[in-house]
């Protein structure tokens, strides 16, 4: 049956969720203010929210609705990507409610449950609600138990869907990830759990699949016969900011390698899914994650780094050990480079060099496929001295786009071949108006589209890659590198040993 006014052919009509409530735990936090509330406003402004839509903010503040509203107003106005329209905000704000309380306060959760029930009568919301956990992982069990106790997580009892959105970190290692997953899956049903990896909401990341599976040009060379190596880089120019406590306890590998970078690697390395059904895509990604092999000697095949004081983008930057709230003897890494492999026929012997770092010269995330040199060059060696590997580079951020690098003759009377770059770039304005990752992902949660969310098995499999690395790194000190450099010298040497070099991203 379904809605007679909707057909698959009518692609102008956007997907709009059913009437529902979005419950944000930790609504006064950083993420909520910078990303979540602006995303909700942008969705409203684009007309993508249903007529019945309510935001319930839960946090430990002694506040009235008014205080919350002004905080949300500031946040939305500051972070919105679509033009500011006061009337849209007014209408949205009238649907904002604040529920004060701490996570161990039974009465507050009873009040929340009653508020949700109340919405059914007042706003025509038939029990649908998404719970967004914008809170420290330590608080997860508390909140989940409260949701279980009040029956708020129960689909059947509420008469609609009840979904939960969890932010990274998904645990701290395999053990904690498994117990967290078990807890969440127990309280909610597994298919109602949405783990946000905001990288997957990015336009270019989704474009990796389009590039690979919608074209016939790239797939035939997408294997060990033609690919020499793959470099995945995620560089940030900023330091650790205000996340000292969290960051010092986890480090670069747990913070971003485990999730963002392994997800990128999975998308680049995976086989073609049978269809774009979420299950099929996930099955293929999982296969790649399972096939990841670590260097046989982790000490040689990986490099950890920690930034020293230096200069970044014309400004003085303090060293990691001088950052506020970081112990002066910390051995936490702010840079990781590791040589991974994928054990299957497609990728046999192709190294995947993955690196992440803070206080790098500039902010860039990219995936570079480096192709093998032509098996025979009929040119004089001097003529092709400047010819490097052919490269296909997928720039994830900023300046989203694709670069193809290949050799071309230098104009002139001699035969001289040199690399040139063919640069495809989404227009500046285009990227500006394309939805922000959070906007897309929040909408997907409310609509119930799970394609862009990793599931428990992916998360656990990613930890199986990270755990042995962390074990091998225990009791070692990271190599120092100056802020504003492309990581420690050891990382360059690691590639040099294999006759390769990092691409200057």
């Amino acid at each position: 049956m379904g809605n007679p006014l909707r057909t698959a052919q009518d692609r102008r009509l956007p997907r709009i969720p059913e009437p529902c409530a979005l419950v944000i735990f930790g609504v006064t936090g950083d993420l909520s203010r910078k990303k979540l509330i602006p995303a909700v406003y942008d969705l409203a402004n684009r007309g993508l929210l249903p007529p019945g839509f309510v935001v319930l903010g839960f946090a430990r503040r002694d506040w009235g609705d008014g205080d919350f509203e002004s905080l949300a107003y500031e946040a939305a106005k500051k972070g919105a990507r679509t033009p500011w329209r006061e009337d849209v905000w007014q209408r949205l704000a009238s649907q904002f409610q604040f529920v004060p309380g701490s996570f161990d306060d039974d009465a507050a959760f009873d009040h929340l449950a009653a508020t949700l029930d109340d919405l059914r009568e007042r706003n025509g919301i038939p029990g649908n609600a998404a719970f967004y956990f914008s809170i420290p992982p330590a608080a997860f069990p508390l909140v989940l138990n409260q949701l279980a106790r009040t029956g708020m997580a129960d689909n059947a009892k509420s008469g609609g869907w009840r979904r939960v959105v969890v932010e990274k970190p998904f645990g701290n290692d395999l053990q904690t990830a498994i117990s967290l997953n078990q807890l969440v899956d127990e309280v909610f049903t597994p298919q109602d759990v949405y783990r946000i990896d905001h990288y997957l909401g990015k336009e270019t990341v989704q474009n990796i699949m389009a590039l690979r599976f919608a074209n016939s040009l790239f797939e035939p060379v997408w294997n060990s016969k033609y690919v020499d190596s793959v470099q995945i880089t995620m560089a940030e120019d900023v330091g650790i900011g205000t996340r000292a406590a969290f960051y010092d306890a986890s480090g670069a590998a747990r913070d971003v390698l485990q999730n963002h970078l392994l997800q990128l690697l999975a998308l680049v390395g995976m086989e073609e899914p049978t269809s774009f059904d979420p299950q099929e895509v996930r099955a293929e990604k999982l296969k790649v994650l399972r096939a990841i092999s670590l260097p046989s000697d982790i000490a040689k095949g990986s490099v950890r780094g920690q930034y020293l004081p230096g200069w970044v983008a014309g400004e003085r930057a303090v060293g990691y050990l001088e950052e506020k709230d970081i112990p002066s003897d910390s051995t936490t890494e702010t840079y990781v480079a590791v040589r991974l492999g994928i054990q299957n026929r497609r990728w046999a012997e192709v190294p995947f060099y993955v690196r992440v770092g803070k206080r790098m010269p500039r902010r860039v995330t990219e995936i570079a496929i480096l192709f093998k040199r032509a098996p025979h060059l009929p040119f004089d060696p001097a003529d092709v001295e400047m010819l490097g590997h052919n490269q296909l580079v997928i720039r994830v951020q900023p300046d989203e786009g694709v670069v193809l690098k290949f050799g071309s003759k230098v104009p002139g009377t001699t035969m001289e071949v040199r690399d040139i770059a063919m640069d495809f770039q989404y227009g500046e304005a285009f990227t500006e108006s394309s939805p922000e990752a959070y906007e897309r992902l929040v909408l997907d949660v409310l609509v119930g589209d799970r394609t862009l969310f990793p599931d428990a098995s992916e998360v656990e499999q990613s930890w199986r890659v990270i755990d042995p690395l962390e074990a091998a790194w225990a009791d070692t000190k990271p190599d120092p590198y100056r802020a504003g450099e492309w990581g420690p010298r050891a990382a360059d040497e690691m590639l040099a040993r294999e006759g390769r070099a990092w691409r200057r991203a």
């Binding site: 049956m1 809605n3 007679p4 006014l5 909707r6 057909t7 052919q9 009518d10 692609r11 102008r12 009509l13 956007p14 709009i16 059913e18 009437p19 409203a44 402004n45 007309g47 249903p50 007529p51 019945g52 329209r85 009337d87 849209v88 209408r91 007042r122 706003n123 025509g124 038939p126 640069d423 495809f424 770039q425 989404y426 227009g427 500046e428 304005a429 285009f430 500006e432 108006s433």
Partner: protein, 338 residues
Amino acid sequence: MIGLWDTTGNEVVKALAAERRSAGGVASGLALTLVAVVEEKKVREAEAAATIAAAAHPCRLLIVVRSDLEGRSRLDAEIVVGGRLGPAEAVVMRMYGRLALHAESVVMPLLAPDVPVVTWWHEEPPHMIANDFLGVVADRRITDAALAPDPVAALRQRAVDYAPGDTDLTWTRITLWRTLVAGAFDTTEERVTGATIVAPKTDPTAALMSGWLQSRLGIVPTWEYSDRSPRMHSVQLECANGDCVTVTREENTALFSRTGQEDRYMPLPKRPVGDELAEELRRLDADQIYGEALGAMAGVTGLDAKPTSRVHVWKDPALAARAGAEAGAMAGPGGSAA
């Protein structure tokens, strides 16, 4: 920017290539060529709209202004790459005299190789698109019935002259309306038994809304004429169980009311033409739903089965005028649009 007065097509091609070279790959990824057919007094408006649309769809923009057909043949051109017209590369061409009847001779060499061509008339839609070569060469054709003296009649003519790949901006203007109305039936299985549209008699969007509801639901909506607002005022759907869903426009918002529920307000802004154009450029294939709605509205069937490409039919206004003077002996060709 380069301005060329009393020039030739070849000069324009050369100047565009030179500008592109000196701009240094500003617009490296071209998704399409947009040909905008505009009357002189609407050029600024069209430029503004195309700039917005080009931001989302990198394109080569060719603006064609045809006027003064009686005068001497003359071509003036202005070439802008990465300047005031946004990320697009643009050529504004003004054609006079007999040259205006052969605009394609200037435009064809300027089309970007092997990317789709979209022609957009930001003026009264042509009676038969087959008579305008700039429409025949296009993969997608966008008209705007609202710019015709009798918009509803102009929309009917679009049905008569339809080929898959045609759309009218009237249709784009009701996307938000349709979203609201369709959203009301996501959560209910109720059958719709009747509909009432309140709008001025001359409102083409209401006509198309009626056609859409008719084609999707198999009902014949009632059109209540009302001049209380210059545009469509409300759409009401009656369900089999007696429930009513009404969407009423109030300024930039829609009042959404449904039996047994609180009234709610949803955004329903009037979008600039540029945004509408950008929505059109998002899809370059034929819009079957539009075809069905247009057919239902005009009472023409089989629109979908019409051939997708047109054959140019030469129509000389000078001949027609002369023929008209000779007591209308010849009505002029144009009937064989298919």
